[in-house]
């Protein structure tokens, strides 16, 4: 035992000495860090680079050595492999990419340099990964047990009952520096910072995400609140909450022709048979004031028509049902800490309370006329010369039609668009219905013709209003045509003609051969 202690002491001395040497001599790491990392993480590793305020979550501060993605216990330093993993694949759902442009040696140099920002790395023995045990496997029973563990460990307090990041504590969350941070939407596994596999999720649950409010479940496990198997089952349950990969982008919403009647509202069971299309949204980073970190990162669209009317269902995740005073604190923090790019946040009142609460909103954008060629209005809200036809909805004003002459400006139009919206458990469901034929102003949705469409979304509780939005590129909706006779007749004629031509050829060739 004594010689063990002595060895440890010697090893510690050696490590401290070695780390000090490395910090001084790691010129390669410093150069690489300054070149690729400093603009976000800051030259001194304080997470205060020139672009940091436009990012949510903020870039990591290295000087305190608090790392989210680790295989070590809560409050422990990460292993070199943990850091290497993040440099290899990045942090999904954040602005941190993987770095395939750097060689393994270069990444090791960067890791040594990053570690030199904190005295903790030099001070102790190399961190050891936890023992994560082995996965007892998934299946219906495991998922049921995992759902129970989700309740036992109070995951829903932040992540919400359905996992969409809308728990009652979600509006209060901040990282260790006091910057607002979102509870992860567990139904969008592709954007989980620490990875989307059952293994990844299990590791994050056990180790917690240091520097964020996400605690480590290992204490609860060690004190018997949950068993090791139940933590694995929880990971299986979380992984089952949504698709692992972001849904593939298909550019055309196929608006099916209904065999019997249109769905009557957003919860009509008839929607179950209709294909849903996913469209990702980027922050509106084109016109000032830009929105670098939009809340809504994608929407689902379904459509169906019966030849005279059409119905659409649009769904998107938004943890807040804005306007909602529960989210005042969140809104104030976002507006106080994020790079607003010139957006003037309304002043708080004398008690520090917000004075303006914005609604949630969504916009579907079309041209006023289906284009003959490729030309169409500018995708970002049209222009004065080529305005766009809009379907608008907000949680304050409901559904309307409008004309847009540039992003942000909407001139209301009379129209027959109707709709209702419902927010449930972190998700909006908007039901829209309109005659296919246009009213006085608007667009007639001709069957069989691809009609350009683009989308925008706003989360009022994150201070999203006007140009602070999430936006999509131009895509299409296409109303399915009534099956026409041409689909049968044309191939039939082609077959008969070719067959007859072939027979004649063969006859003539045979006749000539006999002659």
């Amino acid at each position: 035992m004594r010689s063990g202690t002595l060895l440890k002491t010697i090893a510690t001395f050696l490590l401290v000495g070695a780390a000090g040497l490395v910090a001084q001599e790691n010129e390669n790491g410093r150069v690489l860090y300054d070149r690729w990392c400093a603009e976000c993480h800051g030259a001194e590793g304080l997470g205060d680079g020139s672009a940091a305020a436009s990012m949510l979550p903020r870039p990591r501060t290295f000087s305190q050595a608090r790392y989210q993605v680790r295989t070590t216990g809560s409050g422990q330093l990460p292993t070199d492999d943990d850091l290497m993993h993040v440099l290899n694949v990045g942090l999904p759902g954040t602005t941190m990419p993987g770095w395939p442009n750097l060689s393994d040696q270069q990444k090791r140099d960067v890791i040594e340099y990053i570690k030199s920002f904190s005295r903790f790395f030099a001070a102790g023995p190399a961190p050891e990964p936890l023992d994560f045990g082995s996965d007892p496997g998934g299946g219906p029973e495991a998922l049921a047990a995992g759902a129970q563990a989700y309740l036992t460990l109070e995951c829903e307090a932040c992540h919400g009952a359905a996992g969409r990041g809308n728990g009652t504590s979600a509006p209060t969350l901040e990282d260790w520096r006091g910057f607002p941070i979102r509870a992860a939407d567990l139904t969008e596994a592709w954007a989980l910072n620490g990875g989307s596999s059952v293994n990844d999720i299990h590791t994050r649950v056990l180790t917690g995400l240091d520097g964020t409010p996400m605690p480590a479940a290992i204490d609860a496990m060690n004190s018997g609140v949950v068993s090791p198997d139940e933590v694995w089952q929880l990971a299986h349950y979380v992984a089952s909450m949504g698709p692992r990969e972001r849904p593939r982008l298909r550019e055309v919403v196929r608006v099916e022709r209904a065999s019997e009647g249109l769905p009557q509202d957003g919860s009509d069971e008839a929607w179950g048979d209709i294909e849903a299309f996913f469209f990702p949204l980027a922050g509106q980073v084109i016109e000032v004031p830009r929105n670098f970190a939009p809340t809504v990162d994608g929407i689902w669209v379904e459509g169906v028509h019966d030849g005279s009317e059409m119905a659409f269902r649009v769904q998107w995740n938004d943890p807040s049902r804005s306007p909602d005073s529960e989210w005042d604190e969140w809104q104030a923090k976002i507006l106080a800490t994020m790079d607003l790019d010139g957006f003037e946040a309304p002043a708080l009142d004398s008690t520090g309370a917000v004075t303006v609460r914005w609604p949630d909103a969504i916009r579907l954008q079309f041209p006023f006329e289906v284009p003959d060629g490729a030309e169409r209005p500018y995708f970002l809200g049209g222009t004065t010369r080529q305005p766009v036809y809009l379907w608008t909805w907000s949680s304050n004003d409901g559904v309307g039609e409008g004309r847009g002459r540039g992003y942000g400006s909407v001139e209301p139009l009379p129209g027959e668009l109707q709709g209702t919206a419902e927010w449930q458990d972190g998700r909006w469901t908007l039901y829209l219905r309109r005659p296919i034929a246009a009213g006085a102003d608007g667009l007639t949705f001709s069957e069989g013709v691809p009609i350009p469409v683009a989308f925008s979304a706003w989360d009022g509780s994150s201070g999203e209003t006007d140009k602070r939005a999430g936006v999509s590129s131009w895509y299409y909706v296409l109303l399915e045509q009534e099956p026409s006779n041409a689909v049968v007749v044309t191939p039939l004629i082609a077959i008969l003609l070719t067959g007859a031509f072939g027979l004649v050829l063969v006859r003539r060739a045979q006749g000539r051969a006999r002659a």
Partner: protein, 264 residues
Amino acid sequence: MNLKHPFWQGVLVLVLAYVVIKWGIGYLLPMIGVPSAPVPSTVVTQYMLTVLVGVLLYMSAESDRWAAFKAPMVRTMVDPGRRALRGILLVGLPLLVGWVAYQGVKPSFGAPATLRSIHPAPPNSITFRGATMELAGLENPLRHSGDMEAHLAVGNAVYTRNCVPCHGDLLDGQGHFASMLTPVPADFTNTGTIVQLTESYVFWRIAKGGPGLPNEGAPWNSAMPAWETILDENETWSVILFLYERTGSTPRTWEEEGAEGEAH
């Protein structure tokens, strides 16, 4: 199958041409780093008709070759021993034609093909924040004045705050918003982008963005902002310096541009 026989040679040429046109241009070229796009199906049909006519012209140019070329077909039509093959072709070919016709008339849910010019011809002059700038012969003034390190630092900061969300930290067009945009942002590490362009061209593209493209560039689709509303002239030239420095590349010079112009 005797590949020296004119008939099979003809078939081989057609098959090879189809493979090259259908997959070679769209998928193989990008593998060796040459930017390309799949050929639209109507264009494939046109190309294939051209190749077919070429094969027929070649085969019929000499009467011996023409006879040899026709022989397998004639034999299939008359030879009693080939009755089964004849039957299969007489039924199969019309069905194939019927299937092609069906593909043409069946309801389609694909997006219409959109062709756009990636690097449309630049204008002779632009207005930048109200002032007229001649693009022809225009050099990056920062290459010959001031401290290059300082220029690059400005460019780095401008790039990180403004360009990273789409064009990415690695300048590879893979920013965190990139996969949400159609068309996708330019990849500056690709030899088909800034390396082929003069700095004045890059200045024009940054200053005027998507809305400033001519119609052949599909200005209505591009998410590239008109940066003159956000960046001043110094910031724009600085970020251009940064793009070339960080990708380890050099801009096209006016000498190269001129040589190319004369060659045309």
